[in-house]
Symmetry: C2
Subunit: 696 residues, 2 copies
């Protein structure tokens, strides 16, 4: 019997009620229960569900609904909270954008973490014909937090219930999506199904593709009431206007309250309540064809759908990560998921032809700036790279900001895939917070995710924030990356490092102590210099103290950084003085100086015009000097550069005279801007530049 575990009389009464409503609605239509002829078929008059446990909408190919008008704006709502959900929602949105031909308005109900991530992402993504609105999930919590729930995420799930009041009152229709669905078709086809709604129907849903609501999965399994197998709420078509009119809020609260008299909590969050309401008011629901929500949960019955349906439209995952290679069907679905997981999101920045839409903020200026570039300019590639707006996904992995401490320091650096292996060593050397910008493709971002997940050292650290900047263009946008990492540092001080350096084990503690001792907070405007060394050997035992470092230096196992090829980069640090120094000492700026420094978080940004190899750090130090930062060398601080194969950019710099000419041109323009900004005070930088020197 269907309603096992619930009072039988109540079940029987509900069934009777349902039949009566059905008769009332369909007026004893002689076609009831029989398939209709193709031409006249609509779902409007179909009964919402077959009480024997199988909603009839399953796998009957519906007539193709008329497509929505070419440029109609489609509305989509998604509830999203936390770091991992934010990654999921991006994959969903990529699949949505890939197939869509209509302008979209995304309504995102988010917590603070997801909002921070997604706001940055969409702002930098600049996809044409997509509007984004955010709604504060925390403000909605009180409306659902009274419902006993089996897990925290369920609270966010429950928020789908309050969308009719949370979304703007003039919004009449919306498609509501779980973050774990992937589109395999144009969402306009789903939107078109609103046309199948009868005058009263307000909720479009696909039948549940499991036996959960039949209540026979195990002994004493007591699911919430539902019509037959019930409906799955991973994909919902909502007529918000009708729900508001029908008193939806009152309706679901009444049902939930009543059910909670006999049931301890919801198991499947909003889905339990939607089903209970629908069981009570079946006229509300318009069943949707199964292919609009192919559910790949445990014990799924989805094969019934996908072996018969002409086409699959939306795949709904429970956890794609768990899907192993064995089930070849699941493997096929997984490929679709991976398609969008790894899809280059930059390619979705394509306009909708023939739909006049306001361009995304900043897009017009960008177009104009790009249009002004001369393709014949030898430095075209540099100019284009400088103008590129990279998609940015901040805090790609779960991250816990450190508790505020007045002298705390975040290590700031940037890297690409080939330096990933530095991360574990870096974590061992720097126990404090880090803010790292990673320059990756979408595919590499997934490899990076797996890399962190399989590393015990990295997954143990919650104070390392990884910010993915998506690759675009052929030159490494080094200063843009540094600025992303710098902007996301949350401590009052930052150590501006590079990824191929390992700091002294004691550096983190020593820096905090030095900052406190030097009373930097607000009183002195200083940049603390961390002297840099290098080893040419892979197999290298890291010095545990300054004394040990000096021994290695004397033995020729270590050198001061770039001693052989670019001594002026660090000469002003005055290594001879450092050997003997017991206290911090002040040094003067000189041409080409590029020390590694600790500065307040609000220090000047790096000049984003420097892309690829050359002058990117030098320009930043000039900026610090121009803004009158004292340069103070710390006597016990050191950091050591490890050897690596030369980067692509340095190779190009060395082999390509045009590349070098372009770096020179950028330098000149930088100096012009400097003079414009600082006037006569900037003269010394120009004078220094004009003295003959070694390589750039």
């Amino acid at each position: 019997m269907l309603l096992r575990g619930r009072p039988r009389t109540l079940g029987a009464a509900a069934l009777l009620l349902l039949l009566l409503i059905g008769f009332f609605l369909f007026g004893g239509d002689p076609d009831y229960g029989r398939p209709r002829s193709q031409g006249a078929a609509t779902f409007d008059g179909d009964p919402p569900a077959d009480p024997r446990g199988h909603n009839r909408s399953d796998c009957i190919p519906p007539p193709p609904p008329p497509p929505p008008p070419k440029c109609e704006l489609l509305q989509v709502a998604i509830v999203c909270a936390g770091h991992n959900s934010s990654r999921d929602v991006i994959t969903l949105v990529k699949s949505l954008l890939f197939y869509r031909k209509n302008p979209l308005h995304l309504h995102l109900v988010t917590d603070a973490v997801a909002r921070n991530i997604l706001e940055t992402l969409f702002h930098t993504w600049m996809v044409p014909a997509v509007q984004i609105s955010f709604y504060n999930a925390d403000e909605l919590k009180p409306q659902v937090s009274w419902i006993p729930n089996k897990h925290y995420s369920g609270l966010y799930g429950l928020m789908k219930l309050v969308l009719p009041s949370a979304l703007p009152p003039d919004l009449a229709r919306v498609i509501v999506l779980d973050t774990d669905v992937t589109f395999a078709s144009n969402i306009a086809e789903l939107w078109a199904l609103f046309a199948h709604f009868s005058d009263k129907q307000a909720i479009g849903l696909v039948e549940n593709q499991s036996d959960w609501y039949l209540g026979n999965l195990w002994r004493n399994h007591r699911p919430w009431p539902a019509l037959g197998r019930g409906f799955n709420t991973g994909v919902i078509l909502l007529r918000l206007d009708r729900l508001r009119q029908a008193g939806w809020e009152h309706m679901w609260k009444l049902t939930a309250t009543r059910e909670l008299l006999t049931l301890p909590a919801t198991s499947l969050a909003d889905q339990d309540i939607f089903n209970a309401v629908i069981k009570e008011h079946p006229w509300l629901v318009q069943p949707l064809p199964c292919m609009w929500n192919v559910q790949l949960s445990d014990h799924t019955l989805a094969e019934r759908c996908y072996s018969e349906a002409p086409d699959l439209k939306v795949i709904h995952w429970n956890s794609p990560k768990k899907l192993r290679v064995k089930n070849k069907h699941v493997e096929s679905f997984r490929n679709l998921y991976l398609t969008f997981l790894e899809y280059d999101g930059n390619l979705l920045r394509r306009e909708l032809f023939g739909c006049p839409c306001p361009p995304p903020p900043g897009a017009e200026q960008l177009q104009q700036a790009l249009a002004q570039l001369e393709e014949q300019d030898a430095c075209f590639e540099f100019r284009q790279q400088q103008l590129t707006v990279h998609r940015v996904h901040i805090t790609f992995l779960p991250h816990k900001p450190p508790p505020p401490q007045p002298h705390d320091v975040t290590l700031v650096a940037q890297l690409s895939m080939e330096r990933l292996q530095m991360l574990e060593a870096l974590c061992r050397h720097w126990p404090g917070p880090m803010s790292l910008a990673l320059y990756l493709t979408d595919t590499e971002a997934q490899q990076f995710l797996r890399f962190v997940e399989t590393s015990a050292v990295l997954s143990a650290r919650q104070d390392v924030a990884y910010h993915v900047v998506y690759r675009e263009g052929s030159l490494y946008p080094i200063n843009q990356l540094r600025n992303v990492a710098l902007a996301q540092a949350l401590t009052p001080y930052v150590f501006l490092s590079d990824i191929d350096f390992l700091p002294a084990y004691s550096l983190y503690d020593y820096l905090r102590a030095s900052i406190e001792q030097l009373e930097l907070d607000g009183r002195r405007k200083a940049a603390l210099v961390v002297p840099a060394f290098e080893t040419l050997h892979y197999r290298f035992s890291f010095p545990s103290s300054k004394a040990e470092l000096l021994t290695l230096l004397d033995a020729g196992s270590l050198y001061t950084f770039r001693y052989h090829e670019w001594p002026q980069g660090h000469a002003p640090t005055d290594y001879a003085r450092w050997r003997e120094a017991q206290a911090p000492y002040r040094v003067q700026w000189a041409a080409d100086y590029e020390p590694y420094v600790v500065v307040p978080r609000d220090c000047p940004r790096y000049d984003p015009r420097f892309v690829g190899f050359g002058w990117n750090k030098v320009a930043h130090i000039i900026e610090l000097d121009a803004q009158e930062y004292e340069l103070l060398v710390l006597p016990e601080a050191f950091t050591i550069h490890l050897p690596h194969a030369p980067s692509l950019d340095i190779t190009r710099f060395r082999s390509n005279p045009t590349y070098r000419d372009c770096v020179r041109a950028l330098k000149d323009e930088f100096h012009q801007d400097l003079s414009r900004h600082y006037g006569a005070a900037a003269l010394k930088y120009l004078t220094a530049l004009q003295q003959p020197r070694g390589p750039a």
Copy 2:
């Protein structure tokens, strides 16, 4: 006037003829020239073209044709020749497969180069529900080579004319595609347009989206005759059965011969002849909606199509590489192209649900083998990687095999993206042929292409064959890669090297001389050992002679390879003896020996079970020894390992005990197989293994 440059009387006569035919065919239909009502609209009765220069099919949204039956096999023909065209065709096929829901039969008319590439590719790709047939383009050449042509590729273009006789006689319908088109939709929708053909129509084409055939592009511009703007042959629906019946071969040859009396050659290859035939027999053509061939050539008029059409279905490129960022429309199209260029082709190995199709060759055994793996096995990842069939694209870039020489040697190596920068140096050190396997994602393969194109050193070399093996799985399939590179070496001898080694400048010449001197060809079964050294320094001046190398060795600037951590790997080479040696000397195998050797091309393959780090070369040397190869050390040969950051696999090997256990398990299984194969003779390897030693 339309037919500028052709005799006016002829033009006028043709126009008159056309009008008469039109009247005859459509019987003075009163709807002629007017749009029909939506419900009844078909293209059957429409005139093929408006002689005022604009075919009327443009941008009138056709009624959606009925989709073909769910599992109907769709036929596609493509002409493809050479290395670059083969790359193009793969991008086209990826777009085709991405959207298709039907089984496909691809008919590929290829030259020997393309056949070699595509046969390997499709064999290793193993896409379900795709059949491939090859047709020898060289055999078809005589049928079209009499037509004067402006360029060689045109000869292959012309082959589209002979498809009705070249394809199997029972093949009635086929979609013919140029290699430079990209699908943005399901090809079944295109196939469905066959249903619009009237009883006589045999060729479906989209109007040309340029003014070329109007003949007014420049003074004395004399295009071939065409109806108005003519038709573009990048996408063709062919009713082969009707063409055969109508005497197509006779028809087009007659037209071509006649036109060539006054025109010197075809400018646009087959397209000129198709248009001339259609001009003469307009009843043959069924105009297709413009969105099925959106042509982005120079001076394109395609915007007329894409600004109005509800949807774009097929994009036709002339040269996407030339499309710069400036035209924002073109940028949008370029994104579609890049989507499939960079799309992970592995993801297209998805089955068609509900279409019973014979699995691709080998797929069933592979499924079974994968199904037998134990997911709980600690070495599951290794087992899965060993079984993985990687997609292989041999000779990814144009390659000219070296002329056959009896003692020639090919350098064989494998690499992934992070070693790309070794290639230039390697080219400088090795002036002979190379066969290199590259382990890349589809996206990386494009980066690699650009890397070679922008390198003067690399693009000057035609004797370096690059074979792309597409990434799948987390362990580096080192021996599978070596086997791909080895199988593609075309000289009688191979130097089995690794990518982080640079050979002595003289090595290539010296090896060829040694092979000749030692009379290896057939008479001796020998492996010539090239002694290996290493430097720990990046900045390193490569020794130009053995004497110089010995000086560096004595100075401690060079070491024998892996002297510090794995001396047994090269100890049997006997470096002390090598110092003094004037002639090749024989050495004996000992445990863990893994020298770099020169062997005949038909040497044993590497054991593909070794994936990731560990024992992959050792096992190969055992195999050589077991097959009684003499190990002869060459007194003047040397190769030097350059430093690099440790690979991901070596890092995992060092940090992960399970990884080491798995390598040990693989070793054990290798020895079991060895005993099974060589019996008692293999005992010595097992005995050697059981002696306690250093790291694996």
